[in-house]
């Protein structure tokens, strides 16, 4: 079983033995919202951007908060849209974002 965000115990079986593991990186948009105005100065050049809950194929209800990137200019995301992971490196961290599945970078 997977869980996200990571915790200190398994919320499914109460076990302590777990580790970081790879998932398929494939999922569907569960929900999305478009932020048109920055809430934080660090995002003032990023708007508009799309925040989404993506549910991974690996397990029911396994959802991440992420961004949807790589949409065409007039393209709207929708619940159920098939997406795949893409990683963005920002300074010392790497964050998983998602783009429409099968679409090149």
């Amino acid at each position: 079983m997977f869980q996200y965000p990571p915790g200190v115990s398994c919320v499914h079986c109460q076990g302590e033995q777990f580790e970081n593991s790879e998932t398929s990186g494939l999922g569907e948009i569960y929900s999305y919202a478009i932020v048109g105005r920055p809430f934080h100065a660090g995002f003032s050049k990023a708007v508009p951007y799309t925040v989404a809950l993506v549910e991974l194929e690996d397990q029911a209800e396994l959802r991440l908060i992420t961004n949807i990137i790589g949409l065409d200019p007039e393209e709207k995301p929708y619940c159920g849209m098939a997406v795949q992971v893409d990683y963005e490196t920002r300074g010392s961290i790497t964050i998983p974002q998602f783009r429409p599945r099968g679409r090149d970078q």
Partner: protein
Amino acid sequence: VGVGYSEVSRVGEPDPRALTWAAGKAALEDAGLTGADVDGIFEYKFGSESPGFHEAARLLGVPDLAAFADIMGSGPSGLAGPLAAVMAVASGACETALAYRCITRAAGYQGGPVDGPLEIEGPGQFLTPYGFLGGAIVNMALKKTRWMEQYVRPEDDFGRIAINARRWAALNDRAVLKDELTMDDNLSARFIVDPLRLLDCDYPVNGAAATVITTLERARDLRQQPVLVDAMAFATGRGADWVFDNDFLYGGTRECAARL
């Protein structure tokens, strides 16, 4: 058995202590009590600017507290204070409890970008890097999207909530916004986070409200006809969380209804 309110205002920065004191004193007077009769205090708060039970007890001249708590915004709701007071009185932990909430505009997000840390730890590391900001705003927008697409419902469903909330507010002398809202008003209000619109959001005000909870036996001797609490219920549902909960749309509300 008593209720009290401070002045409610849309502008200015009144002292939260003055608001809390005014509401608490009015609630006690309404019941025919003073701070000397109080042995329990329960507060519900969003921000640190709201005075806690210590300060409320001092301001109102409460001699000693047998049961007390400041319940944070992660608590069940703005009703968490009164319901904690009901539990404390029902259990015998205290006899007469004051429950209050004080909120000022300083507690809310005021619009416009803010500066903040460029790196973040803890639970926020799974939210903030994606621009999940502005408190609950993005989450509420995600819930609105999911509702409309899962049930194939128009945005009017949310407009009706605001229209009716305003309609009931107009019946309240203390309400700060009383003008009737139309569906057009709702559907043309600007986006805060698309699809969440301005009129889907609550409105920042300054004010405090307080109520006095006591036993039926004690209430019989007091000034007002008491309101009896017949039943109350909380629920979280499975995988309790604001964002990652399993039951994203309902968040335990159906379990709460069934329990009640």
